[in-house]
Symmetry: C2
Subunit: 164 residues, 2 copies
DNA sequence: GTTGTAGATGCGATCATTCGCATCTGAAGC
DNA sequence: GCTTCAGATGCGAATGATCGCATCTACAAC
């Protein structure tokens, strides 16, 4: 366990060319966590690295599987708790895109949302500007600050609408 | 089992003054189901009756508990499956209001949504009109028909915003 | 470098929800 | 009424997600 952690820290703090968005590497990720009063544990850095390496809309189990390959002692609960923490910190978004499993996405790209067809399952990107009227109404009417990071709106796409 | 069902049908088909919204009684509910090609099983009528009797924003387990009191043979899975069916039919809305449990609400009142403060848990009603811009954008840009029945938007209420 | 400690992790139990499958039944047709 | 069978239910197992608690560790203070 101690061995695992030490070796992981070594791997994680080595700069790496595979870490892409905003050209960050692991040291930066660790400092980013520390700067917001969070501990930079190896497990947390592994979760962030999984997002960098893999695509978007990952499930907790996809992240866990990816991490387990190289770090078999990391626990599934820790992955869930880390995702919860990152979600609360605004580092990632948690979204139910249908299919009964929650999916997670890094929030370092431009903010966007999705239209999800519950007939064919197609997922359409939706620009964030369409949510401004809601944010404005919530703020003006109730002084409420709406935090809508990555919304999934269900309905029927143009092709499935013609079907019936 | 057979006895239970027969007696339940008797109870359920008796007109009752406790069934309120749109002045319907159980026969009407059964016919409403049949008219859309669905079977009017005693279990389904019990789920609908639970919504009529109890308040809003019920969890599956609250509905199950209510039904079990008088009809102990009804199964939890059936309640879940019935809620899923009714949700797909547009009879009820399924919403995650935080707290990790999904909540269900009859869709016979005027359509509305909620602002949920993730600091204090307060739930504010939000009129449906604020969602029109999204529906319009989805339709105009993508021909997508958005079905937003009972949305929960998370964020921070005016009181918790001042706290930090 | 050592120490102290708040906070994170591993682990197993538990909760919320879904699924497979054998059985049962609502309701349509006769 | 009786028959028929697609579809609904009960049941138990499986999956997704959370929690309690003992142990461990990141990192701040010295
Ligand atoms: Mn996305
Ligand atoms: Mn409501
Ligand atoms: Zn479609
Ligand atoms: Zn609040």
């Amino acid at each position: 366990m101690r061995g695992f952690l030490r070796s992981k820290v070594r791997v994680l703090t080595a700069s790496s060319p595979t870490i892409s968005p905003p050209d960050q590497h692991y040291d930066d990720l660790a400092n980013r966590l520390r700067s917001i009063g969070q501990r930079a544990t190896p497990q947390r850095l592994l979760v962030l690295a999984a997002f960098q390496d893999a695509g978007e809309h990952l499930t907790a189990d996809e992240i866990y599987a990816r991490i387990s390959e190289r770090s078999p002692t990391v626990n599934r609960s820790t992955v869930y708790r880390t995702l919860e923490t990152f979600r609360d910190l605004g580092v990632i978004a948690e979204t139910d895109l249908g299919g009964g499993v929650r999916r997670y996405q890094l929030l370092d790209h431009e903010r966007h949302h999705h239209l999800v067809c519950h007939d064919c399952g197609d997922i359409i990107d939706l620009d964030d500007d369409v949510l401004e009227p809601i944010r404005r109404a919530a703020a003006e009417r109730y002084g409420f600050s709406a935090e809508i990071d990555h919304l999934a709106i269900f309905g029927r796409c143009q092709f499935c609408r013609g079907d019936e």
